[in-house]
Amino acid sequence: MAIQIKVPAVGESITEVTIANWLKKDGDVVKLDEPIAELESDKATFELTASSAGVLKIIKPEGSTVPIGELLCEIEPGATASAPEAAKASQPAAAPSAQTSSAPAAGQAPSAPVAPKATGGVKEMKVPTVGESITEVTISTWLKKDGDQVALDEIIAEVESDKATFELPAEATGILRIVAKEKETLPIGGLICKIEITEGATAAKQSQASPAASPDKSYAAGHPSPAAAKILDEKGVPGSQVTGTGVGGRITKDDAQKVQPAPAAKADPKAQTPSTPPAIAGGGRNVRNEKMTSLRRTIAKRLVAVKNETAMLTTFNEVDMKPVMDLRGRYKDKFKEKYGVGLGFMSFFTKAVCIGLKEFPAVNASINGDEIVYHDYCDVSIAVSTPRGLVVPVIRNAESLTFDQIESEVVRLATRSRDGKLSIEEMTGGTFSITNGGVFGSMLSTPILNPPQSAILGMHNIVERPIARNGEVVIRPIMYLALSYDHRIVDGRESVSFLVRVKELLEDPGRLILGV
C-alpha cells in the first residue's frame, strides 16, 4: 500500500507551500530520508524527504501551490522497502484481492465493496497545537457520528478557538469513536476521539482512484486543450498555475478564459483588426500576467496590514558620515587581515542602534494584545533583497557582538538569503529592523514596519552636500536617516531622541566604544 506524503506543518502561520521543484522523477526509486522535492513557503525553502523507501508517484506537479496537509506524492514500497514497511505493505493485500486485479482494468465494474476489516490499531486524535497563545479549543460541531466509518483526511469536526474556527481532519481511516462531546472545551493535547483503524474501505477507494478514473490525480491534470494552451500562453500564465475543471483536471478553454480576465486578452482578433496593423510596425503592447509567489502574496498581505493596524509615522535626521568613513578608511585593511571580513557600515549602524535601543526601550518593544513586550536584548533584522523578494534575517543579540562578529553575520545571512537557504528561525523574532535603500540609490524614504516590531531604521545613500559647520560652508558626505515607528507605543520624544542618539554615535564613533 502506498505511503502518502503530505505537506508537513512547517511553521506557525504557514498555510500553504509551493513545489519549487521535484528532485526525483515520477517512478523513481527513492530511499528513506532522501530529499525528493524542494518546497517553498512564504518564508523559506526547505527540502521534503522520503518518509519511506520505494517507488515515487508524484501527485502535485511542480509549481503548484498546496495547502498544509494535502497529498504531495505517494511512495509505493517496492522490493527495496525496508522490512517493517514491506510488512505493512503486505497487510492490505491480504484483505481485498480485488484491489490488485481491478487496478489495471480501471473502470471495470467496481469491485464488490469490501467489508472494512479492523486491524486492531486505534488512532487517538488529540487537540493539535493551533497557534501560539491558544491554550484551549471548543468542539463546535461533530460532522460525523460516533461509529461512522471515516476516511483519512475526511473532515470529521469543526473546532473553535478564540481566534478562529478550523476543521479537524481524520488522522486515520476507520471507525470513529467520539470522546469529547459537542460544546466541550478541551486543552491543547486533550483527547478528542479515537479511530479504530480499518483496511479495506481504503482499498475499494483506491481501485477507483486508478489513473483513468480519478479526477484529481490524472496524469493529464493541468493539460490545456489546444485553444486553452493558446489563450494561456497569450496571457503568460503557465498551465501549472491554472486549476483545470475539465475531465481529469484538464484545462478547458473556459478555464483559460477565466484566468485573470485581462483586458488585453484577444477574444476576437477580428474586432480589433482596424487598429492592429501597427503591431506589425513594432512597438509591442504586450501584457503579461504572472501569478504571485506565496512569498509575494504574504509580503503584500503583511504590508497592508501594517498600514492598517499600526499608527506609523516617520522621523528624519542626517548624519555626517565623514568620521565613520575616515575611521573605516584607516583600519579597513587591518580589519580585513585580522578578521577575514570587510569592515562595512552595517556594524557601525548596528552598534549605534543597539546603544540607542538600550536607552529608549520602547523603540525595541512590541505590542501583544493589551501588553507591551520589552526586549532586554537587541535582535536586529536586516532587510535583504533577493530575486524572490525581500527577506529579513535576524542578527541575534547584536548588542553583545563585536564589529567583526556583526560583519560576518551580515555576510552569512545575506548569502543564505540570496541562495534561498534561510530557515524560518533565522527570520523570526527580530526586535528592530534596519533597511538600506541607499544601495539602490535612495536619497530618502519612509520605511514600513516589520511587524510586530515597533520601529525600523532606514539608511540611504551617502551624498556630498554643502553644510554649515562653525559658520562655514563645508562639503561633507551626508546620509539621511529615517526612523519609522509605531506611535501607539513609541512617543515622538523617544523616537526623535533615539534617532538623534544614533546620529551622535555615528558622527563621533569613539562614543560607540565608551557608550556615552
Binding site: G27, A106, Y219, P226, V247
Partner: protein
C-alpha cells in the same frame, strides 16, 4: 505597392497563411509562379492523385466486386483520357476556388517568380519577362518542394517520370516500375495497378511506407499484393536507362543478387526536396541547409521579418502541416501565441484501404524505452466492413502502460484518413485509451474499430472479437 505581408508560393501553406493574414487585417499579397493557384497539392499532388485514386477504385469495383454485390455488367472498359480529363476538371474547380478565396479576402495575386531584392522588396518576374517590384513589412516564404530525381537518372518526363507526369499519362502503362515504396509510390502505383497496368515497386528499405508504424507497412504489403503489385524490398537501384520505349532498371538486393526489370514507364518517387530556386535568398543572407530554410521555433528565418513555412522548412512534407504553419505565422505576426503540436500532425496514405496514423509509432516507443501497451482490432470483425466488403486492415492503438494515455493511433483500412481525426482529437486532450473506449461510437461504422482497439489497449477486453 506597399504591403504588410507578402506570401511567396500559393500552395496550401501559402494561401492559408495569406487568408489568415487578411483576416487579421494585414494588407496582403501572394506571389505564384504558375498560372493557377494552389501549388503542388492542388495542381499536381494531393487533389489530382485522389481524383485518380477514386476513379481507379470505381473501375476495379466495377470490374471485380460488382458481381459479388449482385450487379452484373459487361466487362468495363477503361477510358484513360476521360479519367485524366475528369481529374483535370476537379483540379480546375479547386484552383478556381482558391482564386475566389483570394478575391474574397482582398488579397492581391501577383503571377510570376518572386525573388528578394532586399528583405523588404520582392521582385516579380512574369513568364513574359516583365518585372515589377513590391515592398512589404514581412514576408512568408512558402515555395514548397519538388520531386527528388535519382542522381544517375534525371527525369526525362517521358519514360522516367515524377508524380507530376504520372498524373497526366496519355496511355496506360503496360508495366509501370515504381522506385520508392513511400506514400507517393504506393498511391500512384495502386492507381495503375487497379486500371490494368502491371506495377512493380522497388524499395531500398525493408518495408513499405517506412516512416509509419511497422504494422502498417506489413499490412499494406499484404493488401497491395492482392491487387497484383510486385515488390522488391531491400533493393538498391544501381542503374536506370531509357532504351526507345523501354526503361531498363538494375538493382541490387541484400544478397548482392542483381535484379533486372524492364518496363515502359518508371515512376521515381524517392522523396521530395525543398524548392527555393530563383528566390534570391542569398540577397538577404539566408543560407539553406540541405535545401531547407533554417527557422526557429517561431518559423522565423535568420532575417527578422522573413518567415518560412511548409515543405521548405523542417518537418513532414504534408499539406496540412503547411496549413497549420501558415496560420501559426500569421497569428504570431498579430501578437497572438498559437501552438503547433508536431507530434499530432497525422500522416495519411491514400491507397485503398487507406493508411493513417498519428502520434508515436511502436518502433519509436521501443527506442524511447517507454512502457506501453497495444490494442488492435481487425476490420474483418466489423459489421460495417463486412457489409461493404472492405475487410482488409486494422486499427492499432498504443497507450502508456501506467497512465493508459494514448500515445499513438495507426489505422489501415477503409476511411482511415477520415477516422484518424478522432485519434488527433483524443491525443490533443491527452485522452486515455479507456476514455475513448467509454465514448459511444455509432453502429455500424468503421469507427467502432477504434473504440474496440482502445478497449483492447485498456485491458485487452474488446467486445467483438
Amino acid at each position: 505597392m506597399q504591403y504588410n505581408v507578402v506570401v511567396i508560393g500559393s500552395g496550401p501553406g501559402g494561401y492559408v497563411a495569406a487568408i489568415r493574414c487578411a483576416q487579421l487585417g494585414f494588407k496582403t499579397a501572394i506571389i505564384e509562379k504558375y498560372n493557377t493557384l494552389g501549388g503542388t497539392c492542388l495542381n499536381v499532388g494531393c487533389i489530382p492523385s485522389k481524383a485518380l485514386l477514386d476513379s481507379s477504385e470505381h473501375f476495379i469495383n466495377a470490374k471485380s466486386h460488382f458481381k459479388e454485390h449482385g450487379i452484373e455488367i459487361p466487362d468495363p472498359r477503361l477510358n484513360l483520357v476521360q479519367m485524366i480529363k475528369r481529374k483535370s476538371d476537379v483540379v480546375k474547380s479547386n484552383v478556381d476556388g482558391i482564386a475566389f478565396l483570394m478575391k474574397k479576402n482582398k488579397i492581391d495575386v501577383h503571377t510570376g517568380v518572386g525573388s528578394f531584392v532586399d528583405k523588404n522588396t520582392i521582385k516579380i518576374t512574369s513568364s513574359d519577362g516583365k518585372e515589377t517590384s513590391i515592398t512589404t513589412d514581412k514576408v512568408i516564404v512558402a515555395t514548397g518542394s519538388k520531386p527528388t530525381p535519382l542522381p544517375f537518372a534525371p527525369f526525362d518526363k517521358k519514360r522516367i517520370i515524377s508524380s507530376t507526369e504520372c498524373l497526366e499519362l496519355k496511355e496506360l502503362p503496360k508495366h509501370l516500375i515504381v522506385i520508392g515504396g513511400g506514400v507517393i509510390g504506393m498511391e500512384l502505383g495502386s492507381v495503375y495497378a487497379r486500371i490494368g497496368s502491371k506495377v512493380t515497386v522497388v524499395e531500398f528499405l525493408d518495408s513499405l511506407i517506412p516512416t509509419m508504424d511497422g504494422t502498417m507497412g506489413k499490412e499494406l504489403l499484404k493488401v497491395t499484393k492482392k491487387l497484383g503489385m510486385d515488390f522488391y524490398l531491400g533493393h538498391k537501384v544501381t542503374s536506370l536507362e531509357v532504351k526507345g520505349d523501354q526503361v531498363l532498371l538494375k538493382a541490387e538486393g541484400k544478397d548482392a543478387k542483381v535484379l533486372e526489370l524492364t518496363g515502359d514507364y518508371c515512376l521515381v518517387s524517392i522523396g521530395r526536396r525543398p524548392y527555393t530556386d530563383g528566390l534570391g535568398l542569398d540577397k538577404i543572407g539566408i543560407q539553406t541547409v540541405k535545401g531547407q530554410i533554417p527557422v526557429d521555433d517561431h518559423l522565423k528565418t535568420s532575417v527578422d521579418n522573413v518567415y518560412a513555412i511548409g515543405d521548405v522548412v523542417r518537418g513532414a512534407m504534408l499539406a496540412h502541416k503547411a496549413e497549420e504553419e501558415g496560420v501559426f505565422v500569421a497569428e504570431q505576426m498579430n501578437g497572438q501565441k498559437p501552438h503547433i503540436n508536431y507530434l499530432l500532425i497525422p500522416g495519411v496514405v491514400y491507397t485503398w484501404p487507406e493508411v493513417a496514423s498519428v502520434g508515436y509509432t511502436e518502433e519509436q516507443l521501443k527506442t524511447q524505452g517507454r512502457a506501453y501497451k497495444t490494442g488492435s482490432f481487425p476490420y474483418k470483425a466489423l459489421g460495417r466492413a463486412r457489409a461493404s466488403m472492405d475487410t482488409d486492415g486494422l486499427v492499432k492503438v498504443l497507450a502508456d502502460k501506467q497512465t493508459d494515455e494514448i500515445l499513438g493511433m495507426h489505422i489501415i483500412g477503409a476511411r482511415a484518413a477520415d477516422m484518424i481525426a478522432a485519434g488527433v482529437t483524443a491525443m490533443e486532450f491527452r485522452a486515455s485509451a479507456e476514455d475513448v473506449a467509454r465514448m459511444s461510437h455509432a453502429h455500424p461504422t468503421y469507427m467502432e474499430a477504434v473504440k474496440e482497439a482502445c478497449l483492447a489497449a485498456t485491458a485487452n477486453r474488446p467486445i467483438h472479437i
